[in-house]
C-alpha cells in the first residue's frame, strides 16, 4: 500500500513573526523556515507504518515555491521514499492545495493520505477535510492513534471532552494531532541519503488545476496589545488587586 504525505514549508514555530508596517502581511523575509510541525508527525507516522510492514511506499508532496524542495528533502530524511513538488510562486489557499493534491492522488493512487491537522502559519485546519470531500473518501481528523488492518483504518481522534475511535474504509484521509507520535531527529547519514532520493517537479498547469485564491486579504494587522501589567509583591497584594481593582473574584 502506498501512502501520500503532504508537507508544508512554514515559518519556524519558534519565530515570533512581525506584521509589516504597510499591513500587507507578515514579514517573512530572512526568517527561518521549517517543515510544519504537524506534517513532521505525519511523515513520522507514515514511516512507522512502513517500518511495521503495513505500508510499501511513502511519497512526500509539497506545493509552493522552489525552496519547498528542502522541506521534501527533510521528509525523505525522516523516511519518505520519494518526493513530488508542485512548483508555483502563486499564493496557495487550502482549497487550491486540496485540488492539487486530488490531482496527485488520482495519479499516484495511494490508499491513505496523512496530513497535518493544520499549518501554523494560516492556522486554517481545512486541507485534509477538503481533500477527503473532493475524493469522496472518509476522513479521521486530529488523530492520536492509527492502525491499519483488513482494508480498514482504525483511528482514535482527539475531540472536545476526550477521545473517540472510528473505523474508515480505505482509501482514507487522516490528519495528525500532536500526540500521535514524536518525530525522530534526522541523522546526517539519512540527510545524505535523502539527497539521492527521487524528487519530481510538476506545475499546477501539468495537473490541470487553477490555483487562484478565493479569499482576498485586505489587510494584516497587529493584534490589540495588552496594556502592561504589574508585578505584585505578595499574595495579599494580589488578592487585593483581584478584588478591588479588577473585580474578578
Amino acid at each position: 500500500m502506498k501512502v501520500l504525505v503532504p508537507v508544508k514549508r512554514v515559518v519556524d514555530y519558534n519565530v515570533k513573526v512581525r506584521v509589516k508596517s504597510d499591513q500587507t502581511g507578515v514579514d517573512i523575509a530572512n526568517v527561518k523556515m521549517s517543515m510544519n510541525p504537524f506534517d513532521e508527525i505525519a511523515v513520522e507516522e507514515a514511516t512507522r507504518l512502513k517500518e511495521k510492514g503495513a505500508v510499501a511506499e511513502v511519497v512526500a508532496v509539497s506545493c509552493g515555491v522552489a525552496q519547498c524542495q528542502e522541506t521534501l528533502r527533510t521528509a525523505m530524511a525522516i523516511g519518505a521514499d520519494r518526493g513530488v513538488l508542485v512548483q508555483t510562486d502563486a499564493e496557495l489557499q487550502p482549497l487550491a492545495v486540496a485540488k492539487l493534491l486530488k490531482a496527485l492522488v488520482d495519479k499516484e493512487q495511494p490508499q491513505l493520505v496523512i496530513l497535518g491537522k493544520q499549518a501554523i502559519d494560516d492556522d486554517a485546519n481545512q486541507t485534509g477535510q477538503m481533500l477527503a470531500a473532493l475524493l469522496d473518501w472518509p476522513q479521521a481528523t486530529f488523530a492520536s492513534k492509527v492502525e491499519l488492518a483488513d482494508g480498514k483504518a482504525t483511528v482514535t481522534r482527539e475531540v472536545d471532552g476526550g477521545l473517540e475511535t472510528l473505523t474508515l474504509k480505505l482509501p482514507a484521509i487522516v490528519t495528525t494531532d500532536l500526540r500521535l507520535n514524536e518525530p525522530r531527529y534526522v541523522t546526517l547519514p539519512n540527510i545524505m541519503k535523502a539527497k539521492k532520493k527521487q524528487l519530481d517537479t510538476v506545475t499546477p498547469e501539468d495537473l490541470g488545476v487553477d490555483p487562484a485564491p478565493r479569499l482576498k486579504t485586505l489587510k494584516v494587522s497587529e493584534p490589540p496589545a495588552r496594556k502592561a501589567g504589574i508585578k505584585v509583591a505578595d499574595v495579599a497584594a494580589l488578592v487585593d488587586k483581584l478584588k478591588n481593582e479588577a473585580k474578578v473574584v
Binding site: 476526550g162 472510528l166 500526540r179 485586505l218 497587529e222 473574584v249
Partner: protein, 309 residues
C-alpha cells in the same frame, strides 16, 4: 440573505458554542436558521428554537447522524444548503471537522475561526498563532465559516420562539463507522466556556502536584487547564490543553501557574480579561501578558492564595 448555523450538541443538550455562532450570524444580518443533525435530538432542536434571534430550526433526526460522523453530517448540511448565503459552524472539534468538507463540495473557500464581522463578505481571523489578525474578503457565492466562540458574546438561550421543522435525513455514507468514545470525567465547568480558568504548566512537576490547583479552582469555581508541556509530561489529560493546538479560552480571569508562556500557549488565552501569572522565573514571557504577576514558588503561593480568597 439567510444564514444557517450548524448546532453543536450531544443529542441531549445544545452546546453553548452554538449560541456564540448565532451571535456571529446576527452580526452578518438577515435571518438566522439553525440545523440540528442528530439522533433523538428533538430536545436539542427545542433548545435551539428558544435561543434569541433564531428564526427557524431544521431538525434532521436519524441514527446515522448520532455520532457526528463528518461524511454524514457534511452530506446533511449540503442537503439543506441551497438558499443560504452563509453557513456557520462553531470552531469546535466537530465544526472544524465538518465545515471544510462542506466548503470543498460547494467549491468555495472556507474562512476559519473568525473573531470579527466587518460586513457580509469581510471577516477578521487570527493567523500565526494569534500574532497577526487578517481581514479577508470572500468573493464566493456562499460563505462557509467557522466561528471562534470567544470572539462573540453568546446570544440569550431563552426568549426566542422559532418553529422546528423536520427535514429528511441523508442516508448513511457507509464510509466510516463510529466505534467508541472515552469521555474525560469532570465536575468542573467546561474549559471553553468557564468564567475562570486555572492552568498549570511544567512547573507543577508531576500529576500528583497538579492536585495543588484543585482547591484553588474549587474556590474560584474555575475550570482547570494546562499547557502542552504539562499534558505531554502526563500531568494533565489532553483535553485540558490551552493553546494554538488545544482549546482557545477567553475567561474573565485566567490564572497561569508554573507556565512559562510560549507563543503557542499565549495563542490560546491572551484574550482573557484578566491574566494572573505565578512563576518563580521573573524573566518568564508569561509576565509580558499578565495583568498581575507574582514571582514566587507556586507550592507556597497557591495554597496561600487559596486561603486568602
Amino acid at each position: 440573505m439567510t444564514t444557517l448555523v450548524i448546532a453543536e450538541h450531544d443529542n441531549a443538550q445544545l452546546k453553548g458554542a452554538t449560541l456564540n455562532a448565532v451571535a456571529a450570524a446576527a452580526k452578518i444580518g438577515g435571518d438566522v436558521h439553525v440545523l440540528v443533525a442528530g439522533a433523538n435530538a428533538r430536545a436539542v432542536a427545542e433548545q435551539a428554537a428558544a435561543a434569541a434571534g433564531v428564526a427557524k430550526v431544521l431538525l434532521a433526526d436519524a441514527p446515522q447522524l448520532a455520532d457526528g460522523l463528518a461524511e454524514n453530517v457534511a452530506a446533511q448540511v449540503l442537503a439543506v444548503a441551497s438558499g443560504y448565503s452563509h453557513i456557520l459552524f462553531p470552531a469546535t472539534a466537530s465544526g472544524k471537522n465538518v465545515a471544510p468538507r462542506v466548503a470543498a463540495k460547494l467549491d468555495v473557500a472556507q474562512i476559519s475561526d473568525i473573531i470579527g464581522v466587518e460586513s457580509a463578505d469581510t471577516f477578521q481571523r487570527p493567523i500565526y498563532a494569534g500574532n497577526a489578525i487578517a481581514t479577508v474578503q470572500s468573493a464566493d457565492a456562499v460563505k462557509v465559516i467557522t466561528v471562534r466562540t470567544t470572539g462573540f458574546d453568546a446570544v440569550a438561550a431563552q426568549g426566542g420562539s422559532a418553529a422546528v421543522e423536520e427535514v429528511a435525513a441523508v442516508a448513511d455514507s457507509g464510509l466510516s463507522t463510529f466505534v467508541g468514545r472515552e469521555v474525560a470525567k469532570s465536575d468542573r465547568p467546561e474549559l471553553a466556556g468557564a468564567r475562570v480558568v486555572v492552568s498549570g504548566g511544567r512547573g507543577l512537576g508531576s500529576a500528583e502536584n497538579f492536585k495543588i490547583l484543585d482547591p484553588l479552582a474549587d474556590k474560584l469555581g474555575a475550570a482547570l487547564g494546562a499547557s502542552r508541556a504539562a499534558v505531554d509530561a502526563g500531568y494533565a489529560p489532553n483535553d485540558w490543553q490551552v493553546g494554538q493546538t488545544g482549546k482557545i479560552v477567553a475567561p474573565q480571569l485566567y490564572v497561569a501557574v508554573g507556565i512559562s508562556g510560549a507563543i503557542q500557549h499565549l495563542a490560546g488565552m491572551k484574550d482573557s480579561k484578566v491574566i494572573v501569572a505565578i512563576n518563580k522565573d521573573p524573566e518568564a514571557p508569561i509576565f509580558g501578558v499578565a495583568d498581575y504577576g507574582l514571582v514566587g514558588d507556586l507550592f507556597q503561593v497557591v495554597p496561600e492564595l487559596t486561603n486568602a480568597l
